[in-house]
Symmetry: C2
Subunit: 350 residues, 2 copies
């Protein structure tokens, strides 16, 4: 995608730093009532009245968090925003603003950054957040994106990681494991392409999981949905590192244990079929895959009737006393201790 | 400094991502009343009551913004915070929180990041800001620091870049040009060291300008001082790129012109003597040097008596109609158009 196919290439040096920022941010419009002043001064000015503010920040590094040989820049810009908004939604808050800083080597022409910003702008429009600041600078190698997301929330709705109580139900939104398998498919296609550049991949049977990897969505809808259902979660976290790791964060901070039921973990049919194709255990993928950007939360037992029939939610376990530990209850009804495993562990395990 | 001198080196991989963040942030204490929840959840939670919030973000890249061969990591951590706070003070606001994200290659041992965080912690203590979030990740090359600074301000005190009016006085705090000359000295010493590693540099005569480069301070004091003097600036900006560039920003956004008087520009004696030694024009250094982190602002003529005798302030010019343009009035009383020049232009000019 970054190879020269005869398209226009404008060197970044020809614009200068201020010209570049002005150019890239010209299409960004502020629409949030809380944005008093966006880009263009020493700092943005925001006004949240009596509401509480939530702030989260993330750094995405080329070669570590993304590979531009299969990640289009527009998708990358979109994803960089979405993964940060996910942290805001995990506080049961509404995302309102982001700042975006980019370090980029001179191998990237202006047109590449324009693509990146198209994705940023699209995410800002879809999620109704204002881009209110940023910094664009050169790097000695590769592309790096730092995003800080800001949101607002009424004090009584803030949901921390540390509020889970014994007997609470453990709930996850959507389905899990797809983003990791999407990456697996893309990595395989890259290997095939490197051997035979004329090979045309047929990815129709992987559209859902590839989209989960390249263009994930954050669960903007859940906060309102829970509010409408009159459910206040007792704890909440977003799934960026994998279900297993996030359950352990919730339990550690809430000082509780947990039983997770293998047969309750929601999996998309494409996840199941692709796991069979790759000969990987689908539960392992769900537990350790990461990048799903679904929300994991706990609710009190008495809220069960309010959420049981909702297709957005799967009740996957329940909270126990801390001394009972954190376990996966398998389909064969054996209890095995849950471990936090990231992608590295997964790759080694294959 | 990063060479192995037999000191302890702990590999970052041995801690894992979560262990690393916990370890580095263990000593950071939140003291701001507006910090409800700091590090440890999906997002920090802040409460500014009825005040307005200002947000600014900056990215520092090794090999672009700093050179670790003469920038100790502790100083770098300190400076990374200070340069961001400077943007908050330039809004006439009080800095309250920062988030700090770091991307680091595996060439850095844990002890190096501990040094960096010592500087971050020191700046947080000196400037009374809370470190409320961050991300630590690996990079494929070098060290990169992204800081987002947050501050609070009463609505009536917010000072933008665009409020300068005809006949306003142009005022600068402290003195300018030192940070650039400090860098020049350090670069020279590095060249000498590369030729003769046994050479012991004598830097006593450059202590002020080297400190301006390695451990700059932001003007936290000015907002309160102006308030105490009952002066409300009509516009304000911080000097990060150089006096010339910042004057042009103020004038462009305020749609005014300006006369800047060469003989009024405040220079430290070390700046003057070092300019003579390097055979550089001191006015050029003051205009284009950058990284001084002083504040540049405009006040109404009637506020002149309130600031004229204050040693923190130098009145260096006055605002004109836009069509008169932006000029430097030289010591020889000739008017020459001001140009925005950064460090690159300076290096070419030598």
């Amino acid at each position: 995608m970054l190879k020269d196919k005869g398209e226009q290439r404008t060197s970044l040096a020809s614009l200068g730093e201020f010209g570049l920022i002005d150019h890239l941010t010209a299409n960004l419009k502020c629409t949030q009532p809380s944005t008093v002043k966006g880009i263009g001064d020493d700092a943005a000015v925001l006004d949240f009245k009596s509401k509480k503010i939530v702030v989260s920040t993330d750094l995405l590094v080329e070669g570590v968090h993304f590979d531009l040989s299969y990640m289009p820049l527009k998708h990358l810009g979109y994803k960089a925003i979405v993964v940060n908004l996910s942290d805001i939604y995990a506080m049961n808050a509404t995302a309102t603003q982001v700042t975006v800083s980019i370090a980029v080597s001179n191998r990237f022409p202006l047109e590449a950054l324009e693509e990146l910003y198209k994705g940023i702008q699209m995410a800002a429009e879809v999620y109704k957040v204002d881009v209110v600041g940023g910094d664009t600078t050169s790097s000695t190698k590769g592309l790096l994106i730092s995003v800080t997301a800001i949101g607002e929330v009424e004090e009584e709705n803030i949901t921390y990681r540390n509020g889970a109580k014994e007997n609470d139900l453990l709930v996850v939104t959507g389905d899990v494991g797809g983003a990791f398998l999407g990456l697996k498919v893309l990595q395989r296609e890259k290997s095939v392409f490197e051997v035979n550049p004329n090979n045309q991949p047929d990815l129709d049977m992987y559209t859902y999981i590839i989209e989960r990897q390249l263009k994930p969505e954050a669960r903007k809808d859940i906060s309102k949905l829970l509010h409408d259902l009159d459910v206040k979660p007792t704890s909440m976290i977003d799934i960026s590192d994998g279900l297993s790791s996030e359950i352990m964060h919730l339990c550690k901070q809430s000082k509780v244990g947990c039983n997770l039921y293998e047969d309750k973990i929601p999996l998309d049919p494409q996840v199941i079929s692709t796991c069979e194709e790759f000969n990987i255990d689908s539960t392992m993928v769900a537990l350790s895959g990461g990048e799903d950007y679904e929300l994991l939360f706990t609710v009190r037992q008495e809220d069960f009737p309010k959420i049981k029939a909702n297709p957005n939610f799967s009740i996957i376990g329940h909270i126990t006393e801390a001394r009972e530990g954190i376990h996966l209850v398998t389909r064969a009804n054996t209890k095995i201790p849950l471990k936090a495993q990231g992608w590295n562990a997964m790759d080694e395990q294959e």
